[in-house]
Symmetry: C2
Subunit: 185 residues, 2 copies
């Protein structure tokens, strides 16, 4: 099993960070969110087990999805040259998906580079519920989208579609490439 205890410490740090980012004092945040100063103080001290209602109120007034208040941190400058990076050939030929930016554990946004050749099509089984895929074609042409209503795409075209339903990607031109942002909810 992975993490077992709620990330109280991280949450505490996150709340303080977001509050200061918004330029609010603890008192002001209390007034705006309708919560008690004491409650916020305890939360930022790591001493506290907030209810959903409390967390939600914080997320709203801080302008952040409250999942941000409990999820992990982030990296710095990263460069992956074309052709480099962990290429997942997906078992099928003429298709290469390279993971560019993986989500931290807990997951919410994966960035992929995709390169494909015409011929076979890649059919993906549904991912986790709530997944959304964003696709941008960089070069070539492709037929992509949900299996029951795929769309023909050219360079620069953008398509978003549910990732939790079966979907396909078929290159129509040689050296078709693009970017996929796989978005977990």
């Amino acid at each position: 099993m992975a993490e077992n205890r709620p990330p109280f410490d991280r949450m505490a740090a996150a709340i303080r960070r977001e509050r200061e980012r918004a330029g609010m004092s603890l008192s002001e945040l209390a007034k705006r969110s309708g919560l008690a100063k004491s409650t916020l103080s305890q939360l930022e001290a790591g001493t506290g087990n907030p209810s959903l209602e409390t967390l939600w109120a914080l997320g709203v007034t801080l302008g952040v999805p409250f999942s941000r208040l409990v999820d992990p941190p982030r990296p710095a400058v990263r460069l992956i040259r074309a052709g480099e990076g962990p290429a997942a050939h997906s078992g099928q030929a003429n298709y290469t998906a390279t993971l560019l930016a993986s989500s931290p554990p807990g997951a919410r946004r994966d960035l992929y580079r995709i390169e494909a050749q015409p011929g076979e099509s890649r059919r993906s089984e549904p991912h986790m519920p709530g997944t959304v895929e964003h696709l941008v074609i960089g070069a070539g042409r492709a037929l992509a989208g949900p299996v029951d209503e795929p769309v023909e795409l050219g360079p620069g075209d953008y398509l978003a579609y549910p990732g939790d339903a079966a979907h396909v990607f078929t290159a129509l031109d040689p050296d078709t490439s693009g970017v996929i942002v796989m978005e977990h909810v």
Copy 2:
């Protein structure tokens, strides 16, 4: 202001859905998670305001990031043809950034298509602290990254860099295009 209330109903439905998806009975989930049956029953009935500890325990035993238990419904299929979409010319010539997927209110991940011509460079002032930009070149070549250490990029190259420090984007080839994922913290 939209008085946003915690999505108790959605959470209730989500818990039940995930539980049944995992093939667990309510009693079994209670035993595994260490929570009381009664608590779970109330939560699935929409009557309840769970603490972070409770939610976390549920997420762990159900094997899902707990944000999925309260986060939003999912969008449908969206298509933006190359050239379409709200193009923000950013005041500077030979540079076009098209917003492809704006963040849902509160969320923080903007997806842009970028097209530029050589000549002038686009220099961006720092965004909000914690911002990270992900750049993928689709065609052409560009010099991009932090002002003090820009990187020359070719087709398929990927670069991530802090968006809360001054950074530049300079096209080196005509019709240089790419994708930018601007990620707010």
